[in-house]
Each structure stands twice: as C-alpha cells, then as structure tokens.
Amino acid sequence: MMEIGISHYLILSGILFSIGFMGVLRRKNLLMLFFATEVMLNAVNVAFAAIGNYYGDLSGQMFAFFVIAVAASEVAVGLGLLIVLYKKYGSLDLDVISSMKG
C-alpha cells in the first residue's frame, strides 16, 4: 500500500475546505452558515498540522492553536449577534434579514 505523505493530507484538506466553501455559498440560514465556516477552519487546521509535520517544525501546530482560539471567540461573538438578530427579525433567514436591495 502507498505511504501516506503530505500530499494526501493537503488534498484531503482541500476537499474539506471546498465542502465548507460550498456550504458558505449555498446556505441561507445564518446558523448553518456558521457550521460551514467551522468546517473551513478545521480543514485549514489539518493543512497546518500536516505541513508542520512535513518540515519537522512546530510553527504549524502553533498557528493551528491560534486558529482554534480565533474560532472560539468568533463563535462567542457570532452567537451573540445571532441572538440579537433573532430578537429583531424573528428569523435567521438571510433573505428575511437582508435590508439592502440588489
């Protein structure tokens, strides 16, 4: 069987990122949009860890840690905003929420 190299991890990471990107494009509900961004962040973390492993360098893992910290704070602020939006509009649908024309 083939040895698992960095390209396996990078292709997988690209596929996962694309899945998240498709989600961001097609979702109309804000909560589901958040899930799709989490998928993208996780995909990038896998790429960071794989590249760090390939070079024998710890910087990749460090950046993955900071991505996790950013994701955690993004979720905290984002969910607060979602609750405010839900109070205001009674829905999380982007078509209902959007106030600009075009």
Partner: protein, 203 residues
Amino acid sequence: MYEVIAFYIFAISTTILFLITVMSKNVLYAMTSLAAGMVMISGFFFLLGADFLGVVQLIVYVGAVMALYAFAMMFFDATKDIKEKHQNPALVFLLGGLMAVVFVVMFSAPIIGENIQALYPVGGAKDLVLAAYGPEMIAGNTHDVGLVLFTKYLVPFEVAAVMLLVAMIAGIILAGKKMDYSLTECEASDKDLDDEILKGAGQ
C-alpha cells in the same frame, strides 16, 4: 500499514460527516455531524504527532464550541426543517465546483522550497527536560509545544488571551439583554408585556 488504514477511515468519515453538515436541512443533524466530524479531525492530529493539538481540538471544539452551538440552538426553533430558497442552484454548484477544483489544485500543488529549515524543530524541548527532570518526565509533544508557545509565541499567546476576553464580554453583552422573556414566543410575550403595562397604567 495501520497509519494508512487510519488515514483513509478518518478521511472518508470526515468527508461524509461534513457533507451531511453542509447539505442537511435539520439543524440538529447538521450540528451532530459537525461534532462527530471534529472528533474525526482530531484523529488526524494524533496521526501527525501533534498530540496536544488533538486534545485541544477535542476539548475546545467538540467540548466548548459545540456546547455553545447546542446552547444557542435552544434559543432558536430547531425542530422545524429549515426552508432555504435557492434562486439559482445550478450557478451555485458551478461556482462552488470551480472553486473546489482551484482549492484542491492549490493545496496539492508541489511544495516549492525543498531547502526550508525548521525554525522550531520538533523535539527541541527533549534535552532541556532530560537535563532538568530526568528521563521519566519527558512528555514529548506537550513539552515542545509549551517551550515554543511560551518563548517565541508569547506575545501572540497573550493577544489571543485578550481577544478571548473581549469575545467573552461581547457575548455576554449581546446575548444578555432582555433574557427574561422567551425568544420563540417573542411577539406573544411582547403583547402580554404591553397588556400588563396598560393594566398597570389603568390602575
């Protein structure tokens, strides 16, 4: 051999679970599959020798972030299926597919820079720990991460701590207002509140 099997199991399960997350109409299914996919992602970190990162992924993502999502889901009505109106699904799939191909090619392009030197090599803390505490105290990846995180990346670490504090305060301020009445029955409770105020004014 086992690494290959584990990689393919994790790869296939994460792909399927994240596809469910992105395609599902039910919030509960999407959230559950996202949590399961994140557990599987931590498997890659353990395979790559990043043990501490894998544990952090399990605790922070699967523990804290998903608990927060589950908590937020209770505010919204999660039992209904989500209706999404797609104006031009073919265009979305075309654009998404094109971008997907671009991303996969970009990520899998051969890496330039064969002669890159590792700035903070893996196993750098081993000698220090060996000299200070003896061979039974070596914890591998955790020691390396601690050494690099609290020397070279100390400033970003502190900035991240401040950022988390700011995010916490923002979350409390945004979500904490008017917690005393129900969100899903917002209008009903508004009316009740108005009635009560009118009654109070009448008396």
